[in-house]
Amino acid sequence: MDGYSASELLNIFAMQAFAGVSLFSVFVLMALGLAIIFGQMGVINMAHGEFLTIGAYSTVMMSILAEKYMPEFLPYYFIFAVIAAFIVAFTIGYLVEFLMIRHLYRRPLDTLLATWGLSLIMQQIFRSSFGAREVSATLPDWLMGSWQPVEGVDIPLNGLFVLGLTLLLSLAVFIFLFKSRWGLKVRATTQNRLMAGAVGISTPMVDRLTFAIGCGIAGVAGAAFTTIASTGPTSGSLYIVDTFLVVVFGGAGSLLGTFASAFTIAQAQSVMEFFMSGSMAKVLTLLTVIIILMIRPEGLFSVKVRK
């Protein structure tokens, strides 16, 4: 730490902390949809990353359309792109549930293999239709540049935007799951399917819509990702293991746990990245997570159930 003055150190610390917060919002965005699909429904969706990519590609498409046909619309297109990303991912998720997942609810390990197959197919579809190269969306002006609260600290605007979107989306998911009638049905179905069916909830419909909403959230996450990174056919699959670990570490079924674990993992990784190489930081973080999981297999916040 020699050669840095106290204020420089403070600035570095502030920016490093923000990097951790950014990583946190990325993890939360990735994990929110999966927390519903895997945590609530128990479906191991290995194609979750691809739903993210779908959202990202639809955002890129929107930006290309906006650029080509109505350049004056460019500053505002992003809002619509987020909605479009949700709708596209939702629709595809709905179809996937109908065609594949609903036959496999009783065989969780088999959903893993089947959705892995699905992810391979989707990756190839992306590659065939959008090319193997990475593409990126044209960002509206208000997303570029950075915010300088004090001299020497740069906080990128797109990071702030992603953070804001994450908070908004999390709030929406919370309200959806815990305050709405729909959420009540979802929780009832996942906790006791037979009983839920007996009181008149159409459980197959609840399953289908829940899965589709989880995919739609992944789509929104993908849209948010276009502001920080470019999109390629395999960009979703890079994160899939981390995402699963976040959900498992937080305790499947607990949304609060997902936030806590995303925050812990993200901060741990960004702090360690300061002291060692990125790959070693990642190795150490993952290793710690696994060791904690061996001690506490239910995750940080577990929903107590009889097994």
């Binding site: 594949m100 197959g117 391979l120 590659r127 293991v241 070693m280 990642k282 696994i290 001690i295 297999p297």
Partner: protein, 410 residues
Amino acid sequence: MQVAMDKLFGGREGLVGLVILAAVIFIIMPLTFDIFRLNLVGKYLTYAFVAIGLVLCWGYGGILSLGQGIFFGLGGYCMAMFLKLEASDPESTKIQSTPGIPDFMDWNQLTSLPWFWEPFHSLSFSLVAVIAIPCIFAFIISVAMFKRRVGGVYFAIITQAIALILTILIVGQQGYTGGINGMTDLRTLKGWDIRTDEAKYILYFFNGALLIGCILIGRLIITSKLGRLLLAMRDREDRVRFSGYDVSSFKVFVFCVGAMMSAIGGAMFTLQVGFMSPSFVGIVPSIEMVIFAAVGGRMSLIGAVYGALIVNFAKTFFSESFPALWLFLMGGLFIAVVMLFPNGLAGIYTSYIRPRIEAWRQSKRGGGGLPPTVPAEPQAPVPPKPVERAPASAVPRSLAAGIQSEPSRS
């Protein structure tokens, strides 16, 4: 003696299957392919070791490991370290700034051999390490997990994460492991050049023999009481536990056996292909190895070998001719096997082909004359017709039950 043989070979049908497999490996493949293609087949057969281990763990034990690439890689790397040390004697590495150490260490400014490389100068140590290191690793993972009753989906995700960690480590620690390129340019085994055609033939046959050996070991496990316990555990773990068995020890055992088989496959891979790299360790290869077992049939040891062969032949063929089609096909294969043929090729055989064969044999027998080989045992071919067919149709049902009893978290 007869009973022991029956157990080992799985009755007449099992013996026939094994003989056919041996004929395919030792006679048909060498006669039809040139040495280049045969070497390729040998490479595919090394994946079959992993698939056999997965049949034991996943099909029988209900433990889906998505990290078999870890053990394949560990075995392969142990072998590769020995070969690499032999290939980098001071004579052939004299242009390096420090002769006598592997070339990638030299490129990464390492000036002396790391301590954990030292023992790999000895062939016997390396051969023991090929088996022992993956086994110890598997033991640690599985004891930690199964004693805490982590299973099913969680185990799969954690093994996957471990595979990811190991890949990052190998890629990141270039100086010690050769990084992303892995260990290349392996030449000799105790002075014996492994790159010649003759050596490739010998290695191919040795590989085949080891594979048959592993199948026999797998058969022994399946047909023993342990195998029945494994099946019982897969279907109703609690009941086995309440009956007083230490469930986790059985799981640990079968997981370690699976790991050792994968490691043998990895070591043979290194010998036959001449290099080892992290691209055989990570998540993608590990899941592909699961699909080999799934295509062949997760309940069939011999099916797993065919699964590995067929999927890899298809992969080579399609990625040579229609590269874009391959991922569609592979993805479709995953989905089709899971949704339509949960028991893979072996399941197709037991539910469609075997009834035909038996009907055909019965009609021949009805025409008069005894079947060609009738052992003097009373329980041999004639009476068990209905009895024999009952388990055949019962297998998928019990499997379905096993899948349904997967620990659900709701």
